[in-house]
């Protein structure tokens, strides 16, 4: 039943056609599809399809990832206001760019995807100290801290993921709070994430969202 909508929506997103994607959603609503079904049966499968596409098709690009995430987040937010009952959130993530790093693109891609997957995201912004990540995670009861770093020194420095790991260890929080990292340095050295004390990483923002969701479920299952 939803296949045609998913196909049309994906085509629009793949062509980075925001208006086209919104038209598909409006058509679905007009045809009697509920806002809940739009999110769970069109938007989320579409993002999952994009994830699969990234693995098999190297031709997808950063602009597509970014716009996919922005469109998905925007459509989801619109639909949420129309839900009969507030949706149950899967979990909570604290996200930000590491201290000394002012880049925000990768972070925004991840945020867009997470929001559309019903994950509550608290964005601390850019240039965030390790201590602020941990304090926010404790205060907001988040399961994951996501640290974005676009430069080598902000990825490997003590104020980045390594600092977050030290604080979690010091406060005995390593079981309750997981660390994920992303950004260019990790793309060039796939082992770097473990050297900076993170639990996982992803090469792109879209895959990162899926991985974060899995970590949240893992923590909640404890």
């Amino acid at each position: 039943m939803f296949e045609n909508y998913i196909e049309d929506y994906n085509e629009a997103v793949y062509e980075i056609n925001k208006e086209g994607a919104i038209e598909v959603v409006e058509r679905a609503l007009k045809d009697g599809i509920t806002p809940e079904q739009v999110v769970f049966n069109i938007i989320i499968p579409s993002i999952e399809e994009m994830m699969a596409e990234i693995v098999i098709n190297a031709d997808t690009n950063l602009a597509q990832h970014f716009m996919t995430a922005q469109i998905a987040a925007e459509v989801t937010e619109k639909m949420l206001t129309k839900f009969k009952t507030p949706p149950e959130v899967i979990g909570r993530v604290i996200i930000g760019s590491s201290y000394g790093d002012l880049h925000s693109l990768g972070k925004r891609i991840v945020i867009g995807c997470l929001k559309s997957m019903m994950v509550d995201v608290i964005d601390l912004g850019v240039n965030i100290k390790a201590e602020d990540f941990v304090n926010a995670a404790v205060e907001k009861e988040a399961q994951v801290i996501a640290v974005s770093s676009m430069m080598v020194h902000t990825a490997t420095g003590e104020d980045g993921s390594s600092g977050v790991r030290s604080l979690l260890k010091e406060r005995n929080l390593e079981e309750q709070i997981k660390i994920v990292v992303g950004g260019a340095p990790f793309r060039f050295d796939h082992e770097l994430y473990s050297k900076v004390g993170a639990d996982n990483w992803a090469a792109d923002g879209v895959t990162a969202a899926k991985m974060i969701k899995e970590l949240i479920l893992e923590v909640k299952a404890l």
Binding site: D59, N61, S104, V152
Partner: protein
């Protein structure tokens, strides 16, 4: 032969005793002079001294002018650079806070009169005088279609490129392209003889191929309308193999600096003797490699790239965290396996 003669012979396919060896040590100069980066980059004479000392210490082929990416932003009005104690300087003030600022945004009439150009000019003059006849002296110029990233941030620029009004997008790129043309003239006049022309927005890692062909390419032609002499095409962080043939065909550029992710055999095949390509070592991995791993990677790159000539060995922009022993191991191996 001098390093400059070796490079020139390699580009034209003439015999040379070894492969040219580029080691892009920029930020390391501050440590060599026992300075913090902010002080080091404040004067052209410091950077020149750092570069000359590193040439002597490591023995690689290329020197760099006073460079960090934010320098271009400063020439265009950026008021604040975040200097890390142990890392790359970072733009901390976006000149364009929103799309509304594009209309009134202006480029300098003459960048050579700009206060932020003076340290670059001073550095290049010293390098030109000391090693200009023997060594490649590099400068870095960001292409017009990528330059807005350091003026407004990557996310705002992608939104404008992909989903914004095209007239506004192209108004900004036109201003940036005029600035690029000025920079190219100024760098050449000051003594740079290798210009790294960087354009992530001409790679399929960042945008779709169709947009590269229809939009990015015409602007690159505008950037380079005064000629491609000494231009090296570089995709920033993005792989370039998928656009190499297009760049040769449309821009006449024949020197390429791929990303480590690019398949070197494929790069060689695309160049096919029409110019020069480079085997670029993934220097982020060098942070945690052993000396042996570093040597093995150099050996692998040389084995793939050296046959048939038209080949340069190079690095990315070497992070400060790379152990000194690995830099020395890399260069020893490059000179050993790069012999012709």
């Amino acid at each position: 032969m001098t390093p400059l003669e070796i490079l020139s012979a390699t580009v034209s396919g003439e015999p040379a005793p070894r492969v040219p060896i580029f080691c892009n040590v920029l930020d390391q100069g501050a440590g060599i002079l026992n300075m913090l980066p902010e002080q080091y980059f404040s004067k052209g004479e410091y950077v020149a001294e750092g570069q000359l000392k590193m040439l002597k210490h490591y023995g690689h082929d290329n020197a760099w002018s006073a460079s960090y990416v934010g320098k271009e932003a400063q020439l265009l009005g950026c008021k604040k650079i975040l200097f890390a104690k142990h890392g790359v300087p970072n733009v901390a003030d976006f000149v364009l806070k929103s799309w509304d600022d594009i209309e009134k945004f202006e480029i300098p009439e003459d960048i050579t009169q700009h206060p932020h150009w003076q340290s670059t000019d001073e550095c290049l003059k010293i390098l030109h005088q000391e090693v200009g006849s023997t060594h490649p002296i590099c400068a870095y110029v960001t292409a017009a279609t990528s330059l807005p990233v350091i003026l407004m941030g990557m996310d705002k620029w992608i939104e404008l490129v992909i989903a914004g009004p095209t007239d506004l997008r192209d108004l900004l790129v036109k201003k940036c392209s005029d600035f690029v043309q000025q920079q190219l003239v100024a760098y050449r006049a000051a003594g740079a003889n290798v210009i790294i022309y960087a354009n992530p927005f001409a790679t399929t890692y960042f945008i779709p191929k169709k947009l590269i062909v229809d939009w990015s390419m015409p602007w690159m032609q505008h950037d380079l309308k005064d000629g491609v002499d000494s231009i090296v095409f570089y995709g920033g962080m993005g792989p370039i193999n998928s656009v190499t043939e297009l760049v040769i065909d449309k821009l006449n550029v024949n020197i390429f600096y791929p990303a480590p992710e690019d398949d070197l055999s494929e790069s060689k095949r695309f160049i096919n003797g029409k110019g020069l390509t480079s085997g670029v070592l993934d220097d982020i991995k060098m942070i945690h490699w052993t000396e042996e791993q570093t040597r093995n990677e150099v050996k692998r790159i040389m084995a793939l790239g050296k046959p048939g000539g038209h080949f340069l060995f190079g690095t990315g922009f070497m992070p400060l965290d790379i152990p000194e022993a690995n830099i020395i191991a890399m260069l020893d191996a490059a000179f050993e396996y790069g012999r012709n």
